[in-house]
Structures are given as structure tokens and as C-alpha cells.
Amino acid sequence: MEKVGLEKHTSKQFDADLEDVRELVLSMGGLVEQQIADAVRALVDGDGGLGEDVVRGDTEVNRMEIEIDEECTRILARRAPQAGDLRLVIAIAKTITDLERIGDEAEKIGRMATHLASYERPKSAFRQIETLGRHVREMVRDVLDAFARLDSESAVHVARNDEEVDREYEGIVRQCITYMMEDPRTIRHMLDVLWAVKALERIGDHSTNIGEYVVYFVEGKDVRHIGLEAMEKELAKSTRTRDRTPEAD
């Protein structure tokens, strides 16, 4: 199968419609990325005010989800898109659901940051959280990049990064357990920390989902629920096929 593009419809307005909705997804993605950054910063620095900003900021993420959803419905109704165009609209509709959930996770972290603002924290645990936060933010950014560049290989790469994120998450959980065993008075705070860390881990999962939608859109293949290895194999197969396809006659 050929790689898809967005443009060159006979109807220029259709090109414009698809481009507009794609731009909206990318700016929603940018907003969500910022929310994650702020939430992690609020958590690590103990900045309750910033945490509250993040909680408020989620309203805008939700508004964008609805706007893009409506735009997708409008395109489906008016353009009856086919093939690559159809896959794009479906992929967008699914992507924004995951972006919205990522927004919710960021909001959750913001709320935990507010709770923990007054808590005297063990530095090392929060340093690890900072690293984890940076990694999941990179995943979100990379997958949005893959989406923007119609790059299915990078999308699969994001799924591979999720394994590293899961390992980091496990490490932080173990450390939290150690603190709680050492000093049961920390349990209440540590539970909040765990909630926040779990939220970060979930953001990684949502990014992986978005990567799968990118592969679906670009390659026309559904690679959900098949595992990373199978996913990479599928992708290699279609890349090979594409490279060997003779020039259009």
C-alpha cells in the first residue's frame, strides 16, 4: 500500500478541511504536553498554585476535544471520506479521546501536587518522578510528531519507549513502598505520590495508543493488542512491500 498524504484533492476545500482539523489536533496535543509539564513541575517543586492552574487548564483541553469531534462528524457527514481520508478522520477521532484522557491524568497530577504542596518531601523520589515525567512528555511529543509527519516507524518507536516508562514506574513504586515501611506516617502522602506516578504511567499507555492510530492511518493496519514485537513485524512487512512497489505506470 502507498503511503498516504493529506493534500491534492480535486476539492481544495476538502484539503483545507482536513488540514484544519489536523492543525487542531496538533494544537490540542501541544496544550496537553504543556499541562503535563506544568503538572510535573508543580508536583516536584511543591507549587500548589501551579497545580491549581493545571486543574483549571483541563477545561480548555475538554473544549478542544468537543470542537475536534464536531469537526470530524462534519467531515464524515459532508465529505464521506474514503480510504486514507477515512482512516485519518477515524484516527483523529480516537486520538483526541486519548489526548483528553492524558489531559485528565495531568489534571489528577495537578490535584495531587496541590495536596502535597506543604509536604516535606524526600528529594530522591521526586527526582525520579521528574525523570519519568520528562519521559512521558517526550512520548507525547514524539507521537504527535509522528502524527504530523505521517511517520509510522516513529509511532512504533513510542510504543517501545513505553516499556522503559513502565520500568521507571515500577522503580518508583518500589521506592515508595520502602518509605512507607520505614515510616508509616508517610503513607498518606505516599499514596498521593503513587496516584500521581500512576497517572504518568497511564499517559505513556495513551501515547502508545495514539501511536497505534498513526500506524492505522498511515499503513491501513490495525496493530492494537498484538504486542510490540508483532507490531514491529507488521510494520516492517508493509515498509518492504511499499519499497518494492514499482513506479506507477
Binding site: 500500500m1 502507498e2 498516504v4 491534492k8 484533492h9 480535486t10 476539492s11 476538502f14 464521506a80 471520506p81 474514503q82 480510504a83 486514507g84 481520508d85 477515512l86 482512516r87 491501513g220 493496519k221 512487512k237 508493509s238 518492504r240 512491500t241 518494492r244 512497489t245 514499482p246 506507477a248
Partner: protein, 277 residues
């Protein structure tokens, strides 16, 4: 024309539909082998091969002048009527070559009926429109048998309830959609096994179109249908398999779901997404 499947293996020609549906082997009703057609000096089809599966709806799509109507007309030798036409290759119907010298074309067209773009009822009564061909072909002689056949055909075409009280009214007094269903009833009356439809809905409003599409859906249990349509949505709605024609060749022939969600060929993608030309 070469194509390839997803494993990277090349196949020589597109003849059987590539499919991702369950691998139920369906019987082949008609087989077209290396069909080439010239109108005078102009070649309209360049060695096209294709299997038409039994009790399926196969849609032929493609831009104007791509050869899809020419192809359709070769399936019951309608092109014989055109001057200067030259046809090479083979078309089989239940295994027999329909271009063999001994074939009776009139009888052939009774087996492979055709419905045209514009409804074209005879300027006769509704009853006579149905009864005419079976009478000429000598298929039905008794009046009561004929009454039964008329009723049966009109019922099959979903028109009976609308016209049963005015069978003697001229066919031309019906609405466009009704006229087209009358033509379908007329085609069915001689008991064909294949129905060829050349843009059967292009002159109809959306409601009449929906009725005819519903009819096509019901007919496929008993007939093999090949339909040429410019309306891609219609192909997507009614056909089990779709072939994309371009410049006298079949570019892609797949089950309809695959063709409209992830076509293999860029040309197909460009055409169905409106990037053609």
C-alpha cells in the same frame, strides 16, 4: 498490470478479487480471460481478466472512458451491436465461451439480462412490459402462467404492491424509480441468472435510488449482479466486490471493505478519495 499482496509476493494479473474476508470459496459464474476491445482504431480494453463470483454483487468503478461500461457490455455481447468493434479474448458463462460461433445471442441475453442507465420501458402496458419477452422467447404460453409470471416478477422487483391495480396502465406513466424497477422486473421475467446494470440509479432521486439498492440486495440471493456505477458510495453500499478500472485495465479488484478502507494501489486511493486528474 501487476499487483502484489501484502506479503510482497507478486501476482501476474488482477483476476480474482484479493480479499480479507473469510476464505469461503464461492463459485465463479462468469470468467473473463484476456479481453481486449477496439472501437475502430481506439483500444478500449487492454487484455482484462476477471472472475465474476456467483450470487455476489460486483461493482465496476472508474473515471469516464476507463472501459467499465465496455467491459459490462461484453458480458452479454451488447457490443456486437456496435459497428467497427473488435473483440478478442474469452468470456465464459457457466464454463462456456459466450463468443463461440454457435451461441444464440438472444438466448444468451435471456440468461444474462441488462438494466440500463435510463429506465426504458416499452411504450406498452405494465403487464405487457413483463410479458413481452417470455412470450417472444416462447417460455410461457398459457395466460394463467403469464399472469403468475408477471406477478412474480413484479413482486421480485418490489413493484407489485404499487402497480397491482393498474397493470394495464402504460409503463411510461410510472415514476422514474418505478420505471427502473419495472425494467428490472422485465429483465427478471425471462429467468436470467446474471443481471448487468449500467448505472441503474443515475437518473433516480435518492429515495428511488435507495429502493433500487434495497432491491439489488434482495436479488443477490438468486442472481449474480454486475453493476457499473459512478457513485462510489453506491458501490460501497451494495457491492461485495469492487473492481477499479483505469485506462482500459483493472487496477485493483478487492472485496469492497478493503478497497474503500485501505486500497493497495495508489491510483485507486487517488480516485476514491477524489484526487483524480
Amino acid at each position: 498490470m501487476r499487483t502484489r499482496d501484502l506479503t510482497g509476493d507478486t501476482a501476474e494479473v488482477v483476476r480474482t478479487p484479493t480479499t480479507e474476508r473469510s476464505p469461503v470459496r464461492q463459485a465463479t459464474k462468469m470468467q473473463v480471460n484476456d479481453l481486449a476491445v477496439w472501437y475502430g482504431e481506439t483500444q478500449a480494453l487492454h487484455g482484462v481478466s476477471m472472475d465474476v463470483l456467483e450470487n455476489e454483487v460486483t461493482a465496476l468503478i472508474g473515471p469516464s472512458g476507463c472501459g467499465k461500461s465496455t467491459f459490462l457490455r461484453c458480458l452479454n455481447r451488447m457490443n456486437d451491436l456496435i459497428q467497427d468493434v473488435r473483440i478478442e479474448g474469452e468470456v465464459t458463462f457457466d464454463g462456456d465461451n459466450i463468443y463461440a460461433p454457435h451461441v444464440d445471442v438472444v438466448e444468451l441475453r435471456a440468461h444474462i439480462g441488462m438494466v440500463f442507465q435510463k429506465p426504458n420501458p416499452f411504450p406498452k402496458s405494465i403487464y405487457e412490459n413483463i410479458a413481452y419477452a417470455p412470450k417472444i422467447l416462447g417460455q410461457v404460453r398459457k395466460r394463467t402462467d403469464m399472469d403468475e409470471l408477471v406477478e412474480h416478477s413484479l413482486k421480485r422487483a418490489g413493484l407489485w404492491d404499487e402497480v397491482k391495480d393498474r397493470l394495464q396502465a402504460p409503463g411510461l406513466t410510472l415514476s422514474g424509480g418505478q420505471q427502473q424497477r419495472l425494467c428490472i422486473a422485465r429483465a427478471i421475467a425471462v429467468n436470467p441468472s446474471v443481471l448487468l446494470m449500467d448505472e441503474p440509479c443515475s437518473a433516480l432521486d435518492p429515495v428511488a435510488t435507495a429502493t433500487v439498492e434495497q432491491l439489488i440486495d434482495e436479488l443477490k440471493d438468486n442472481y449474480t449482479i454486475v453493476i457499473v456505477t459512478h457513485n462510489l458510495q453506491q458501490a460501497a453500499r451494495v457491492a461485495g466486490y469492487t473492481a477499479f478500472f483505469h485506462l482500459g485495465e483493472i487496477v485493483e479488484f478487492s472485496d469492497t471493505d478493503s478497497l474503500f478502507t485501505h486500497p493497495r494501489e495508489k491510483k485507486t486511493e487517488d480516485y476514491i478519495t477524489g484526487r483524480y486528474g
